[in-house]
């Protein structure tokens, strides 16, 4: 078993006791809730006559169903309006802080936690959303949970979990031109498999990780779940601390930063920490990665041939055959030149300010290809405002992109933003599952935000390195 890792240390600090079934009971430092997975939990609480134990450690937002075009209340979609109203009532009754759209702080739950400074190193964080792993970028232990577990956390501010193994993924070398954090994580999932992380937490380390900004680290931790790992984290360092110091929480609480920093340093993995597994990856070998199939593990370099199912491991062949039929691709082809109908720049993986800036450098002065629907959905209202202030909105709109309000949008298609029929979508999101973006015949190709921008301009999956970047003002 691992020893001396951040995971071990934070786990031990939060362990309340070992339950009779052998699971550990862990204290939860921050519980994030949203409208899709919490209403049933509040219902269960009510049935049992229980109250929310720690509303002060619970924070709500609305992201999955929120319309990104017209947000006037009541929402045009009755079901969405009902979910929003239910959330409003629940948080009001319990006294939970709510970043609703009128506050200017609303956004995707995994974007707003970090930007408000409530996501911090050495915290345990849970949310009824699998991409809660995102918060691991700060050195938090962050897990996606189901609704019955949300009930547990609301009632007790604790969760029952089994300790997992720790796999260190060392990403060494320097990233090449046009290659980003997203490509690193797509490569990790491709190599280790979509189920390779089951039973593990991933610790991302190595110079390529250390050189990433916080947003890049979030993109990587975000997709830990797509590799089967329930959580992933990066040890907090100066990059983390600098980022945190600027957030609301620490700006509004002078002295807290200095007070907490020793704790954050104390939970870093020891130099001689023991791991259950270590994997090394050379970042300098990577090209931009795109998916050719219907799981995030089916990725390849932009110029690499799509594999023949029979060349894959036995247990991957059937999935690959079905995926290639669905995507209408053939072994031996590359994805370069695959025609797209939609370009979606958004989601908790890649809708932060640096993502939009990088994409804007590709888009500036160019035009979206004919017949391509392209749109940008910022990860939060703050990202949206910042992007508008620095002129990114104008760049995108001038090129023919639709500029929207913050939310999960077409990542999973729970609002009006959905693929239609068999449309193909270049997407900066995290899942290319069949039906994921709202149409069961829709085809999703995952890629980094600059690659989405390039696809929008050319109308096909393209190597962004072939398009010259334009400096932003």
């Amino acid at each position: 078993m691992s020893n001396g890792t951040l995971y071990d240390k934070v786990w031990d600090r939060h362990k309340v006791t070992t339950l009779p079934n052998g699971q550990d009971q862990l204290f939860v430092g921050l519980h994030l809730i949203h409208e899709v997975t919490s209403p049933q939990a509040f219902g269960m609480l009510q049935e049992r006559g229980l109250e929310v134990a720690r509303p002060d450690l619970t924070h709500a937002t609305v992201d999955h169903i929120v319309p990104t075009a017209n947000q006037d209340r009541p929402y045009a979609d009755d079901a969405a309006e009902r979910m929003m109203s239910e959330l409003e009532e629940n948080v009001r009754n319990a006294g939970i802080q709510f970043s609703d759209p009128t506050t200017g702080d609303q956004g995707i739950v995994h974007v707003i936690g970090p930007e408000q400074g409530i996501t911090q190193p050495g915290k345990t964080i849970v949310c009824g959303d699998s991409h809660t792993s995102t918060h691991g970028a700060f050195g938090a232990l962050a897990f996606g949970i189901g609704t019955s577990q949300i009930r547990d956390v609301l009632a007790t501010q604790t969760i029952a979990m089994e300790k997992q193994q720790v796999r260190k993924i060392e990403v060494n070398g320097e990233l090449g031109e046009g290659v980003e954090a997203k490509d690193i994580i797509l490569e990790i999932i491709r190599r280790l498999g979509t189920e390779g992380g089951v039973g593990y937490v991933y610790e991302y380390a190595g110079e390529a990780i250390e050189n990433l900004d916080m947003e890049g680290r979030m993109s990587i931790c975000n997709m830990s779940i797509e590799g089967g790992a329930r959580a992933g984290y990066v040890n907090p360092d100066e990059t983390t601390f600098e980022w945190l110091e600027e957030t609301d929480y620490f700006q509004e609480h002078p002295g807290k930063f200095e007070e907490l920093k020793p704790y954050w340093e104390s939970i870093q993995s020891d130099d001689d920490a023991e791991y259950d597994d270590v994997v090394e990856i050379d970042a300098s070998e990577l090209d931009p990665v795109v998916t050719w199939g219907t799981t995030p593990g089916q990725g390849i370099g932009i110029d690499d041939p799509i594999p023949a199912p029979e060349d894959l491991a036995d247990d991957k062949q059937d999935t690959a055959r079905r995926a290639q039929k669905h995507m209408r691709v053939e072994p031996g082809e590359t994805m370069n030149g695959y025609e797209i109908d939609v370009a979606f720049l958004g989601s908790c993986t890649n809708a932060r300010l640096p993502d939009l800036r990088r994409a804007a450098r590709i888009v500036k002065g160019r035009e979206v290809a004919d017949d391509v629907r392209a749109f940008v959905v910022p990860g939060s209202q703050r990202v949206q405002r910042a992007a508008e202030e620095e002129g990114l909105k104008d760049i995108f709109e001038a090129a023919g992109f639709d500029w929207r309000n913050a939310g999960c949008s077409m990542c999973l298609g729970m609002n009006e933003d959905q693929l239609e029929g068999d449309e193909a979508c270049a997407s900066s999101s995290n899942r290319n599952f069949v039906g994921r973006q709202g149409s069961k015949d829709g085809r999703t190709v995952l890629m980094n935000p600059r690659m989405v921008a390039a696809a929008a301009i050319t109308g096909e999956v393209s190597d962004v390195r072939d398009l010259e970047e334009v400096a932003l003002a």
């Binding site: 699971q23 002060d56 501010q157 029952a160 089994e162 899942r431 069949v434 994921r436």
Partner: protein
């Protein structure tokens, strides 16, 4: 507050007939498409389980085991590897449970999915590829054949065969002893929770903030 240990049934054994759902990496978006999650209760999700694989655009049935009359009463699902990957939505096991599933036997399960099943008292037991293949074939040939999932003994019996399967230790104990609903169990540790919280450097901060704000 009711005493959980009195209220929660022990799940040491599930018997019934099977239904094979073949394929690796079946994600929760397939088990319950996102559009059916625009609800504030889990009631009625059963009919939408695997909806897009079961029905076409005109709501006409497609070929799928869950549409076959012979599997209509099945309560034991037999699946392949990495079942339930993707989104953490508890709506997925809720939909399967409400369709009629009481236990799932498979090559492997995604972690959150297995945890969500446990919270509903649904065992997720695992076996190797050959065992699962043989069982899926047998279920196909014997839709009325009885399957016995012995959670405590970690065996599955069917048609005169007995296969050894694995049940995660904590899951087995929780199911067998009827302690899989953890709310009351954990709430009972109030003092220990307070004590742990009291030693977290970041928490004192937020508590005192609140008091200051008051």
């Amino acid at each position: 507050m009711t005493d959980a240990t009195e209220e929660i049934p022990e799940v040491d054994y599930v018997e019934g007939t099977g239904i094979p759902i073949r394929g690796n990496d079946i994600d929760t978006d397939q088990i319950i498409p996102a559009r059916f999650m625009k609800v504030v209760t889990f009631d009625g999700l059963g009919e939408f389980a695997f909806f897009d694989l079961r029905f076409d655009d005109e709501d006409t049935q497609k070929e799928h085991p869950m549409n076959e009359e012979r599997f209509g009463d099945a309560n034991v699902m037999v699946v392949n590897n990495n079942f339930g990957c993707g989104s953490s939505r508890e709506h997925a096991p809720q939909a399967l449970m409400r369709w009629g599933i009481d236990a799932i036997i498979g090559e492997g399960f995604a972690e959150i999915f297995a945890g969500n099943c446990l919270a509903l008292g649904i065992p997720t037991v695992t076996a190797d590829h050959e065992t699962i293949n043989a069982l899926q074939q047998w279920v196909d040939d014997n839709p009325d054949g009885e399957i016995e999932v012995d959670v405590a003994a970690e065996t599955v019996r069917y048609g005169g065969n007995e296969a050894s399967v694995s049940v995660d230790d904590a899951q087995r104990q929780a199911l067998v002893e009827g302690i899989w609903d953890t709310t009351a169990l954990m709430k009972a540790n109030r003092n220990a929770i307070e004590e742990t919280a009291g030693q977290l450097p970041y928490l004192d901060q937020r508590r005192s903030d609140l008091e200051a704000d008051d």
